[in-house]
Structure formats: C-alpha cells, structure tokens
C-alpha cells in the first residue's frame, strides 16, 4: 500500500487521543480504536496510525500490520458514494460478477479504487446476508436488490453520474 501523507489538525489529534483514552490506551483494544478512528476520518492515513501507535505505546509497524490485515480497514479515502457489491456465493451464482464488471466498466474504476473527483469508490463485500435479494449492491446505506447489469447505469444516474 502506498504511503499516504497528510498533516492532521491539532483538534483531530486530540480527538484521536481521546478515543485512545476511552479504551484506556490499552494495546489490546487496537482494533476497537482503529474502528473508531476510521469512523472519524473515513479512512486510516499513516498519521492516524502513528498517533494511535504512540498513544497505545506499540510500534507503528504493528499498527500498520493490523490495518493491512483486515479488509475492513482502508488507507484510501472512500468516495462520497461508496459502492459496495456483495460477492458472497449466493450473489455470485446469481450473476454478481457481471454486475461488478458493469460498474468497473462504467466508472472506469477497479475494486478498491476511488474516482478522481472523490465521488465514487468501488468495493466488494463479503456476504451481507440479504441472499434473498441477490445480487445485492449497496450505495452508502441504500440497498439495491436483484440488480442486473443493465440496471447499473440507472443506479449511477441517481447519484449524478452521466456515462
């Protein structure tokens, strides 16, 4: 993963330190801390990991090792409209791969990428458990069920994407 460098605001650092304190600066709570941090920043840039490492008194390499282990954590900011496709088996056998291909084609994005304007990001999820609605697409909080490839264009249109 590429090194992403941003300078944090002092208030953001304080907020992050408060999160760590909430978990008693306990290294065992690293994953909970990272969840909260990602909730605040939307992603986990290097600086956030450095602050967390410092506060929990663990090497930043270990924090990075954890961040890159779990697919829930990301070092790339998500788009304004994060698009997630369920790629569970039920969705797969009902054609999720074709829907994914269509999103990739129209957005010109690969999985895990965010569009240059920061509007859309494309991700795959493990089973969301709405197998009755397979294949399932999530845009932010909104769920689209039984999506077929030709619906993709319409879905994107809802979010102001003109192909």
């Amino acid at each position: 993963m590429a090194e992403s460098r941003v300078a944090l605001k002092r208030s953001e650092v304080e907020q992050l330190k408060a999160v760590c304190r909430e978990f008693n600066n306990d290294p065992g709570e690293l994953i909970n801390v990272l969840h909260k941090a990602q909730g605040i920043f939307g992603y986990l840039p290097a600086e956030v990991q450095e602050v967390v490492a410092q506060e929990l008194n663990i090497p930043v390499a270990k924090v990075y090792g954890v961040v890159t282990f779990y697919s829930f954590f990301t070092m790339i900011p998500r788009g304004q409209y994060p698009i997630s496709l369920c790629t569970g088996t039920a969705c797969y056998v009902r054609g999720a791969d074709k829907v994914l291909d269509e999103f990739k084609r129209l957005l010109k994005l690969d999985v895990g990428e965010t569009s240059a304007d920061g509007k859309f990001s494309l991700n795959c999820l493990r089973c969301v458990g709405a197998c009755g609605l397979a294949p399932v697409v999530l845009v932010g909080e909104k769920t689209y069920g039984r999506v077929s490839p030709d619906q993709v264009r319409e879905i994107l249109k809802e979010y102001g994407y003109e192909v």
Partner: protein, 597 residues
Amino acid sequence: MAKYSMHLLVCGGTGCRSAHSAKITENFKNELDASNLSETIQVIETGCFGFCEKGPIVKIMPDNTFYTQVKPEDIKEIVAEHLIKGRKVTRLLYIDPEKKEKIEDSKHMGFYRKQLRIALRNCGFIDPENIDEYIAREGYEALGRCLAEMTPQDVINIVKESGLRGRGGGGFPTGLKWEFASKYQADQKYVVCNADEGDPGAFMDRSILEGDPHSVIEAMAICGYAIGATKGLVYIRAEYPLAIKRLQIAIKQAREYGLLGKNILGSNFEFDIELRYGAGAFVCGEETALIHSMEGLRGEPTVKPPFPAESGYWGKPTNVNNVETFANIPVIILKGGKWFRSIGTEKSPGTKVFALAGKINNVGLIEVPMGITLREVIFEIGGGIKDGKKFKAVQTGGPSGGCLTEKHLDTPIEFDTLIAAGSMMGSGGMIVMDEDDCMVAVAKFYLEFTVEESCGKCAPCRIGNKRLHETLEKICKGNGTREDIELLQNMSRVIKDTALCGLGQTSPNPVLSTIDNFWDEYIEHVDQKKCRAGVCKDLMQYVIRAENCVGCTACARVCPVGAISGERKSVHKIDPAICIKCGACIEKCKFDAIFIQ
C-alpha cells in the same frame, strides 16, 4: 365484520404451480360462482407450504382441512361435498405416514413440516429490542434454574447428555469443550461467542443475533456458570451493524434487570459481556485467530495444542462457541438433554439452521432436524430450483465445504455423513446450483475467496491456494490439460495435509469435491475446451442464428461494446473479436436468435 365465512388457500408455490395449482384456483373460482358462493367463500393463492412432495395443496379455513395432491378435476367434488354439504373429501386428506391415519384438522399434523425451530424459536416472533418479550417466552428461566438448582457440573452434564455439537462447522461436542475449560484452574476465564460469521452466503448467526439476542446472552451466562468464568466476549463482524445494535440494547436491558452483572438472580454468580469487533478477516472464525484478533493483533492462527480451553484470551482458559450453538443451550437446559437427543440423529442430535440460497425458489433461513435429506431441504422446503431449471449441485460448508450432487440428494444431513460425502456441515450456508453453473468456475470462485482470505502465515495456504486458483483459471481459459487435473489433486491433498489451520486444511475441498463429482465437466474443459454451462467466457462464442434473426436491432442497441452490426430488418452479426460475452444481447433478443457456441 367478516364478509367471508370461509377461505380456500391454494398453494401458489412453484412446485404446486407446476402441478397446475393455477388451474385449481381458477376451477374453484368458477365452481364458487356457479354455486353462488363467491360472496361468502374467498379463494387465495399462498406462498409455498414447504410440502411440495404432496402438492398441490389446498387448505380450507377455518376448519383447517388439509387436502394434498389435489387435481383440477377434484375441485367440483370439494365444492359440492365439503363446502356445500360440509363433508370432507376423505380421499384427499393427508395420511399420517406413521399412524396411517387420515388427518382431518391440520392443527394435528404439525409433523408434516420438515422444519423444527429450536435455535430460531424466537426469531421472527419477539421484538428483539424488548427483553420482556423474551422473558414472556421463558427467557432467562434456564439461567435461573442453573443458578438455583444446579451445580456447574450438572449443567455440563446436561449439555453433554444432549450431544450438542458445535454449530460453527467443526462439530466438536459442546459439553466436552465446556468440561475441558472447567477443569483448568485460573484466576480469570472467558466465554467467547464467535459471531464472526464469514462464509459467503451464510447469515444464520446474524439472524439469530438480530432476532433473538437474549438467547445468546443467556447461554453465555450459563456457560460462564458452568466453566467458572465471569467475563464474556462476543466477537462480532463490524459489517453487522444491526446485530451489534440489538446486542448492545439486549446487554443493557439484561444489566438493568440484573440478569448480567453481580449477584445474578440473587445468587453469588457474576457475569458480564463485552463486544469485540471483527474487521473483515474470514480466518478469524478459527478460534486461535479469533483470540489474537480480540487481543488487538493480526488474526493469525497458532498451533493447537494448547487449545483455548487451556490457554486462550490473554493466556487464560477460554471457551469459544458460535452463536447458533449458544442459541440451543437455554432450550436444552429447560427441556433436558434427553429431549434434545430425541431430535435429529444419534451422532448429530438436534437441529441445524441453514441459510438456503442460490438458484432456489424459497431462499431463506431454515432450521431442520439433523438427518433430513438434502432432497427434502431443496425440493420441499426450498420449493425446488428456480425457473424450472435442472438441479446440478448443492454447496454446503462454504469455502471449506464441497459440492454435492444428484447422487447425494438422499444423504441424511449430519456432521459425519457430509464429511464422508466430501463436503462438510460448515456453519450452515447452503447454496443451490443449477445447470447454468459451471463447476470448474464454482471451484475457482471459492479458491478466489480463500486466496483473498488466507492469512498468509503458512506456505501451503498462502502460496498453494494461489496455485490452485491459477491452475483452475488455466482450465477455465481453455489452456488446461489432464496433467493439470492431476496437479490440482496433488496440490489439494498436500495443502489439506500440511496447512496450519482449519482454513487451509479445508480450502481445497471445493476443488476435490468438484473433481470427484463432476469429473466429466473437468474433462470437457481440458479435452474439448467446452464449458457446458456456458460460464467460462473463453470457451464460448456468441452467434446469431440467421434463420431466427428478424433484424430488430435490439441486440445491437443493447451491446455495450458495439460488437453487433447489421441493417434494420436484415440478419445481424456478432464480431467475436469485439464481443465481451456479457450476455446482454441474449437477454434482449425476443426471437431466440442468439446462442452460445
């Protein structure tokens, strides 16, 4: 208030529909009209009764008469005899297979139902955010009885007697596991609920936590009492926000009622529960990996022994069970180990929850007694294959399981029989596949998942699975040889034999089971370069059948890459060099003029 005095429920499930249930409805309506009864008797088509074997089914309310295998020509008789004269048409009544008696009131024939809800007993009945509804349904009674009337060993004995086996996949006897953890002495022990459900296509645990969180909380407290632990942790996927919310509410309510905390129900027993969040790593379903993840580390498994019962969370004795296992516990305490053992089979007592999905009509959450056959699950409860297609395979056990086929349909579902058939119970995902699914591609799909989810610690899983995936891809691209199939088999066996944890030890199962059960398909792929399901894009070509094409241009308009050309009202052509084989044209064509070669 009621306008109608009687209702006729005609099963409109797919199975019954294909047996002319629509005609039955129509006949009923005509007959009722003819007899001037349509103002007082209403005909309604319903969803599947889950009893397709005896369909079409007609149920008459309010007297609960249950007619099976009804034919359109029977309607006249039903109307004339039953509806007008009030005499049941006994030849259509359901016959109890054991007592050989005809059942008149379906209220007395609960046993026709293939499902039995133990773990799901409250799911879909109670408001999960209201502890009172749980208590009204005997909630916390089991915990109360344990604390007031039983020693920890008594509790363990009941669980042992019940024969309950871990529902997370491994099938290890739960009572024994508790006993191990109870034997180790320590200043602190832990009860962990594994709610890191990760099989793609499985959502049993989430549904239980969302529908009946208290049953898990109660069971964890019972376990705590049995093994001598005062702390419980639920390791739950962060991707389950609703389950997390309901669990948090439930824990709060239980604390407020004093059902968690100190001196529970006036006893000396103390127990409380905290949540730990997973962060998207399938391997964390493995208990040692899960424990490392709870400690804030990378979720890498370690060698067992030592087992968590001896050295688990922070090195303390820890008992890990999954959600469904726990959900069974309060019922077992209340109804006894013997009762539980009377359900299911000797080696696998009780029920199992499955998430039935894929190419099946009734996608859903089901709970069935162990020993039921795959056929019953798929064709009765599941209502058969979607769109009238042909059944091809059922995948159980997720990425660790295998694909079972036609010949396994009458295999009873048990931990050991599924393993013997080359699959496994897993946590309970059950994905049905039809003739449109390519089994080589399915194996590839699962390997893609395993490659993605391998933690990377041990070489066979980290590299071996990647090589399996690449070899499958080679076959799907039409470059495979028979040696590649042999290679797949050898690599698979070695990975199973050498991988560090359960993930790697089972990840080749989808490969081995598809090779075993669908050998012909593999051979077709490598010898004839043919994919009979039409899934492997590199092995197919889209062609326009000239005699059917009317030149409507619909295909050319829908083609996303402009691969189809042709004048209006003349035969069109697909340029294979441009075609991306997305299939949009086939779906659009109304004249059946496009086919895959």
